[in-house]
Each structure stands twice: as structure tokens, then as C-alpha cells.
Amino acid sequence: MADCQETLNELESYLDSELSEGRANEIITHLKGCTDCQGAYEFHADLRTAIKTKATNEELPEGFLDRLRDCLGDDVLGND
């Protein structure tokens, strides 16, 4: 069993899906029975989602994909 301190210490690895299955299950069991740690888990999971969503919200420059294809095409013809 994992206690609160262990759970909080390993929350990051758990969110990264980097714990062994056995250890992940111990963390899950703790989270189910502990609203404090469950709150911390949800907070960090939501934060992760927000960061990923916002950091990837980029428009490509106009003509970006065409230029990318063109530079590979030029390379084939040997005039880089």
C-alpha cells in the first residue's frame, strides 16, 4: 500500500505512465480512498491537459507544408 506521502511523491511518475503496473495499482487504490490525494491527482492531470492543449495551439505559417514538400523535392533533384 502507498501512503499519502508516497502517493504525492510518485504522482508525477504515475501521470507520466512510468510506474510499474503493480505500483500504479497501489497508487490507484490509495487515490480511491483519499480525497486529498485524489484532488491533487485531478489538479495535475487537468493542468497537464491545459498545458498540452495551449502549447500546441499554433497556426502553421502560410504555405508551410508546400515549402516543406518543395525542399524535399529539390533535394531529390540534387539542387538543394
Binding site: 504525492l8 508525477e12 511518475s13 507520466d16 505512465s17 512510468e18 491533487a40 485531478e42 489538479f43 495535475h44 487537468d46 493542468l47 497537464r48 491537459t49 491545459a50 498545458i51 498540452k52 492543449t53 495551449k54 502549447a55 500546441t56 495551439n57 499554433e58 502553421l60 505559417p61 508551410f64 507544408l65 515549402r67 516543406l68 514538400r69 525542399c71 524535399l72 533535394d75 531529390v76
Partner: protein
């Protein structure tokens, strides 16, 4: 030339992700486009060494990360670990009580999306020293495993973990400062810390 045409078609689907991460690395749209083009050219030329069935996406990100580190003469492999202040554990979580509740009336997940602007999140990432910024991008934004990141950066897995941990905390502190600047935080609401 068939295999190479396949490369172009397969790799092209990752161009938007590569561009977004290139932009966080270089902090400049023109440099980001150059970096993605260089990544594709290198991938194209090295395609003989690419093994079918391995992860094309990870392979492209590895090329891009290495190109960025070499081109911008990054200190990634000889980092100054002290270039980032230590931030206490669970920094942002412990301060959520200080956020103005009237601005936080949606579901928890939407709340987090509303709480910080796109610009704030981008700035928080870009403000990290490169040593920490690159692992955070590869993990939080691109979802690569510790092992994949360790291979891309040619550092031990433990180093990846410690840079992620410190980088994420520093990013949380930065986000908190932005929220404070926007008047979302009332620190008098925080429980006195011992």
C-alpha cells in the same frame, strides 16, 4: 524512390506537431520553420538508416532535438543544473485557494483551461532554460516516455526525471506569477504556511 515517397507522406502528418515544438524551442517562427525543414531533409537523407516498423514520430523528434541542440550550441549535455531556482513541491496546487472563485465557476477541467491563457502557457515553457525546456516539451507536450527522451537527449533516465520535475515546478511558479499579475490571486486567502 518509392520508400522515400512513403517517407514524405508518412512524415508530413507530423509536420504540425514538429512545428509547434520547434517554435517553443527556437521561440521564433522563421527559425522554427527552418528547423522543421532541416529535420525533414536530414530524415530524408538518413532514411536508409531508418528501420521500418520503428516509431517514425519519435525518430523525427529525435532528429529535430539533436539538430536544435547542435545548431544552437545548446548546453543540454553539459547543463548548468543550478540555472533554475528550487521551487517547493506541489507549488501551484497548494496555492489554488488564493485564486478568485468568481472567475472559476466551471467544471474543474474547464477551469484549468480558462485559468491561464495560451500565451501564458507558451511563455512559461519558453522561459525555462533549454536544459529543462526540452524535456518538458518532449514529455508534457509531445508525450514521449522517459526512455525515449533519454535516448533523444543522450542522458540517463534519472537525469530526464529530475529535469522534468524541476522544470515543471518552475513552470507552475511562472504560471502563478502570471495569474498574480492579472489580478486573479488574493494571497490573503492562503493558509499561513509554517
Amino acid at each position: 524512390m518509392g520508400a522515400r515517397e512513403d517517407f514524405t507522406n508518412d512524415a508530413m502528418q507530423y509536420a504540425p506537431q514538429l512545428f509547434a515544438t520547434a517554435l517553443r524551442m527556437t521561440r521564433n517562427r522563421a527559425d522554427a520553420e527552418d528547423l522543421v525543414q532541416e529535420t525533414f531533409l536530414k530524415g530524408w537523407r538518413a532514411f536508409d538508416s531508418y528501420q521500418q516498423g520503428t516509431n517514425l514520430r519519435a525518430w523525427l523528434f529525435r532528429i529535430m532535438t539533436n539538430t536544435f541542440i547542435n545548431k544552437y550550441n545548446s548546453q543540454q549535455r553539459r547543463p548548468q543544473e543550478t540555472e533554475l531556482d528550487d521551487v517547493e513541491e506541489l507549488f501551484l496546487f497548494r496555492r489554488m485557494g488564493a485564486f478568485d472563485q468568481s472567475k472559476m465557476n466551471q467544471s474543474a477541467e474547464d477551469q484549468m483551461l480558462e485559468l491561464f491563457t495560451d500565451e501564458e502557457v507558451k511563455n512559461a515553457i519558453e522561459s525555462l532554460p533549454e536544459t529543462f525546456r526540452i524535456p518538458v516539451l518532449l514529455s508534457d507536450v509531445e508525450g514521449f516516455s522517459y526512455k525515449e527522451i533519454a535516448e533523444m537527449l543522450e542522458v540517463p533516465i534519472g537525469t530526464v526525471m529530475s529535469r522534468l520535475h524541476r522544470g515543471r515546478k518552475a513552470m507552475q511558479k511562472m504560471l502563478y506569477e502570471y495569474a498574480k499579475e492579472r489580478g486573479l490571486v488574493d494571497e490573503s486567502l492562503l493558509d499561513p504556511q509554517d
